[in-house]
Amino acid sequence: MFPSGMPGHFDDPKSSNERASYERSQRVVEAIADESNVIDLGPRAEQSSAQSLVPMPPRRARELPDPEPPDREIRTGDVDPWGRSERVRSIARRMYDPLYRYWFRVQWEGIEHIPTESGALLVSNHAGAIPSDAPAIMHGIETQLGRPVYGLAEYLFRELPGLGTLWSRAGGVTAHPDNAYRLLKEDQQLVLVFPEGAKGTGKLYKDRYRLARFGRGGFVEIAMRAGVPIIPIAVVGAEESMPILFKSRRLANLLGIPYAPITANMLMFGPLGGLAYLPAKFRIRVLEPIHFTAEPDQERYSRARVMDASEMIRGRIQEALYDMLRTRRSTWW
């Protein structure tokens, strides 16, 4: 419509409209050209988060937190905007406490690295056919620091009837980037994430304590965007609490689950024993927080920088695991 280099005449009102829309589309083109840059972009101008009706590249506005209105005289429950209920959580803690204390005998190291007020992304290794590390970490922090921990997990949980609701009430949140951002940046909460995902929990006993790939480094990008530190956590013990000896790919496909394991627990106690953990001693080491210098709230971050940070964090956790295994005298004591 507009040949390049020819601005055209915009005298009559009709074409001034056209000019406005043309200029807008030009801006979009420029913005897209901008996006293809791999270098970190400068802070963008603030903009209302209301979606523009005219096509524009999405930008994240800096939002103020949006606390839940109290409505105390109306509400009967205490379910927060994330679906977490402190009441349910405290019941869960009471039930889990004996297991935590006398079965796994969880031992913490460096818990002072976890902030008592501001938001932080807790990143840990993941293990056990039915992972036993998430409840242990959440329980330990909630009892010792007295502040909630939200655990990010797969969408899978949300479609499970009953279990999914319980999971949500106990602090589980689906791992959507925006959920993580809001929890960290706007609500300044502690968020626990396992970047290995099912690759970590689904690994065989012979591969224990060897970290799987850390996803695509999405967790680093979220922490950068939210402007919060990442706190790496190394957990020893979860691998031995429910070790996977074999996996059946065919059965997993049939059931539509990520992996179908045969665990040592099942061989010892029968199929129902698949739900019982072995009494491995848990050691949890909280490493030094990692702060990022990148400006928060950017549209995107340099892939190289994200992957560097992701690898670095993975390396630190791996190193800590090796160190803890070197000094571990017994798996059980």
């Binding site: 988060s49 009837p161 279990l163």
Partner: protein, 361 residues
């Protein structure tokens, strides 16, 4: 409101001429009623094929189809500068798919074409849409912002037609940069006077739920819906905005506040299980409502508040107000006798010199 407050609210604004589509819907009538209170709103023209639901003082009712040539003539002849498009059907239990397509898609297309025709005086367009456009699925973010897309493809006609409508409105905004286009996406409505699948479900002696699911939900009070539309009429705030009461509540708690027991539907083949309820006309739970009862939906409402709109009700307050009106209704019966439109009487009231127009405020 006194007339002095009017002047302050006006802020030197000129006289407005407003066209309201869907005057025969509850919203259209409520809105026209509210608009009549403003002195600077000189003309209110209401379009619909159905008669207004509420008595109106000075709104002109035109029984018209959403036919393009008629709309174009009306827009041209009345020289309206503001169009309030409230005629989008969102309750799939009350309208057939075909009618929803006809009204939502074709009606909007014709209206926008008429509003964008050469020589059109329209300078503001406000569209009442629904948060149904976001859908409800397991991969959804916990809070939908206005710039977020739905995660599942639409699978019902109401969602499809609303999405198509969105595209028309966006195109209209691009083609007519001199028109202030505001699109409001309303959450589930509750109130004394409205019927929606949720309102009907909650009015039952036993309220349906999906076994094992307790979704987070939001509601918006009918007064806030009218208020939000009026706010967009009185202020220039282009863009898309979510409108829902602040806060969220799980379904179980909503039922508790209202004081109802829950009837669990099986979590698998839920749509089939809802069929007997549909057949016996107990309650119609269309697929988009079943999705909501499973996964829920919560939207981020900060943008519209930042634009200056003040809600009267939070989500919990909306539920509570609804509970109160249900309790009253259970004792007194229907507290809102429906209004019947009598054309001759209405014309008499609007135009006869015998009617005193003083002290109407």
């Amino acid at each position: 409101m006194t007339c002095c407050e009017h002047d302050a609210a006006l802020g030197g604004r000129s006289i407005m001429r407003v066209l309201v589509t869907g005057l025969g819907t509850f919203w259209g009538s409520r809105l026209a009623q509210a608009l009549e209170q403003f002195d600077d709103v000189e003309v209110i023209v209401g379009l619909d094929t159905n008669e207004p639901r509420l008595p109106l003082e000075r709104t002109e009712f035109v029984r018209a189809d959403s036919d393009y040539s008629i709309l174009q003539r009306i827009v041209k002849a009345t020289k309206v500068d503001t169009i309030l498009h409230t005629h989008l059907l969102v309750d799939s239990t009350e309208h057939s798919n075909r009618r929803m397509h006809e009204v939502n898609v074709i009606g909007t297309m014709n209206l926008l074409a008429a509003a964008g025709a050469a020589g059109s005086t329209v300078r503001k367009l406000i569209v009442k849409s629904s948060t149904l456009v976001y859908g409800a699925g397991k991969r959804d973010p916990y809070f939908f912002r206005e710039d977020m897309e739905r995660t599942t493809p639409p699978h019902t006609e109401v969602e499809r037609s609303l999405l198509e409508t969105s595209a028309f409105v966006r195109d209209f905004a691009v083609d007519n940069p001199h028109v202030v286009v505001t699109k409001l996406r309303f959450s589930n409505a509750l109130g004394d006077d409205i019927t929606s699948p949720f309102a009907r479900s909650l009015s039952l002696p036993i309220v349906p739920e999906i076994l094992g699911f307790d979704p987070r939900l939001q509601f918006v009070h009918e007064d806030d819906i009218t208020g939000a539309l009026i706010f967009a009429t009185r202020n220039d705030i282009p863009g898309v905005y979510n409108v829902a009461g602040r806060g969220t509540m799980p379904w179980s708690e909503i039922c508790q506040v209202i004081g109802k027991r829950r009837l669990p539907l099986p979590p698998f083949f839920t749509n089939w299980a809802a069929e007997p309820l549909r057949m016996t006309r107990v309650v119609d739970l269309p697929p988009e409502v079943l999705d909501l009862l499973r996964y829920g939906r919560v939207v981020d409402t900060r943008a519209y508040r930042r634009a200056g709109f003040e809600y009267k009700y939070t989500t919990a307050a909306t539920v509570n107000a609804f509970a109160r009106s249900l309790r009253l209704e259970s004792v007194v019966g229907d507290s809102n006798p429906s209004y019947r439109y009598e054309r001759d009487v209405e014309t008499f009231f609007r135009h006869s010199p015998a009617i005193s127009r003083e002290g109407n405020e």
